[in-house]
Subunit: 280 residues, 2 copies
């Protein structure tokens, strides 16, 4: 899925990601990679088990060096969030407290509107094995939880960070269905192009005796037109199909290559071979 | 983030995930885990480099055994999608073809509506290093691409599967901001509770000479009321605060613990200690 464009500005704003007592350097690296993919760069660690820096973290970060280089390490959670105005805690379990609970879409939007208001925010992620303690959740303002399969809830820390980073990115998009690049505009061609194709094809088929017996011809033409009308072909697609019909029409089994070219070409042109000629 | 409830029905419906020539068993395992978290279970492999079965895949699948056990292996992509009616190809790069391009939210919805119409669908994911070849994309109906940071686009295969599986799950939710569990309903208390708290607190502060000099008292009361009104405290929260005020009021520095208890208790009750008494 690589597609990095180094000419583009590196996105770095947004909430801090705070990992509480992460155990494996590999997971910290995967978190950094997940963050970088969706434009986050501020990673804070509270008492990483194997210390910091970590070569394993750097290796799995897949060149998210700007995140790894700026990691800040704290001795306790209170210090790690001291400069933040609003903090989410991620948790998979219901907690018995006064915290509002949001899903990731809603949380991404909440973080974005606080960001736009100039507030510094963060998201807490707990230990690999058992998440956050209740008193750690207690330091957060609200809870985020993920809509996982109730019978198989096993998101790891980097997956949870990925989903939040993704929702953060989405919350800043003009439209949630925007894409970084687009396919061609699929605008059905003006009808003259489709009619040109049908006329061309019907002439070629007629010449070969396709429409038999004769009384069935109107129904057969009707079916053929329905099949080729439903897709709503664009002008470019119709050009491709015209080429296909012209080619089949030319290399006919009855007329081996090289025989009669000028005549058949002229016939194709009469039937609308330029895609426009027949109605000009 | 573990929170699996084995009593719940295991979700298994939905699009097939098709990995084209995956290299590492670990990645296949992480894909299975990502799928299981969001209720997908049908994993197909086209020419996995290291063969199948893979112990590494099972180890990293984190008990998504139902996915690993049902993996189907194919010798070519056309066979792997032969029974599907609609196929998405994931890609990070613009392709020069006629395919419509969608973001993951939109793609999740499209897959859901085809699923509800009884169509069998699939999503293609390319090789770790260079994705899908153009002719492989050509076998798909439409393209999905992710709204990644243009300057750091490095989603791995399991991350890409996770995002699509997540959007698949979301597309089936009644509301995209639904959560598997909720916090308490945050309904601001009826005003009599807030007024009870304010009356109690103001009485306790008055008794200690807090409102000085006297001419400033109205403004000070006004500020205090504004601070305690803005949060929109619930009835339960106001009960907590009443307890705090009563406790501070009782263990006053001027009156050491044990002295004068009955009188101060009576005063607190007069000021609204039950949370309702003062307006009955």
């Amino acid at each position: 899925m690589a597609g990095t464009d180094r000419e583009q500005t590196l996105l770095t704003d947004g909430p801090a990601i705070i990992l509480v007592e992460p155990q494996l350097g590999e997971n910290i690296g995967m978190v950094a990679r997940a963050m970088a993919n969706f434009g986050l760069s501020e990673l804070r660690l509270v008492n990483p088990r194997d210390g910091w820096p970590s070569e394993k973290a750097r290796a799995t970060a897949s060149r998210a060096d700007h995140v790894i280089d700026n990691v800040a390490v704290f001795g306790d959670l209170a210090s790690a969030i001291a400069d933040l105005s609003f903090v989410f805690a991620t948790t998979a379990r219901q907690r018995d407290n006064f915290k509002p609970v949001r899903g990731p879409v809603d949380a991404g939007r909440a973080l974005r509107s606080r960001f736009l208001a100039g507030q510094k925010t963060g998201i807490l992620f707990g230990r690999e094995r058992f998440g956050l303690f209740n008193e750690e959740v207690g330091l957060a303002d609200e809870i985020v939880t993920f809509p996982v399969n109730p019978a198989f809830a096993s998101l790891n820390i980097a997956q949870a960070v990925l989903l939040m980073a993704y929702e953060w990115m989405k919350s800043g998009m003009e439209s949630e269905i925007a894409t970084p690049f687009s396919g061609p505009d699929v605008v059905p061609a003006e009808k003259e192009h489709l009619i040109g194709l049908l006329t061309h094809l019907e002439a070629a088929l007629s010449a070969r005796g396709y429409f038999r017996p004769a009384p069935k011809k109107p129904k057969m033409v009707d079916n053929l037109r329905a099949v080729l009308t439903r897709p709503g072909f664009t002008e470019a697609e119709i050009k491709v199909l015209r080429g296909v019909v012209a080619s089949l029409d030319y290399f006919s089994p009855k007329e081996p290559r090289g025989s009669g070219y000028p005549d058949r070409k002229a016939e194709a042109d009469r039937a609308g071979g330029t895609g426009r000629g027949e109605h000009e």
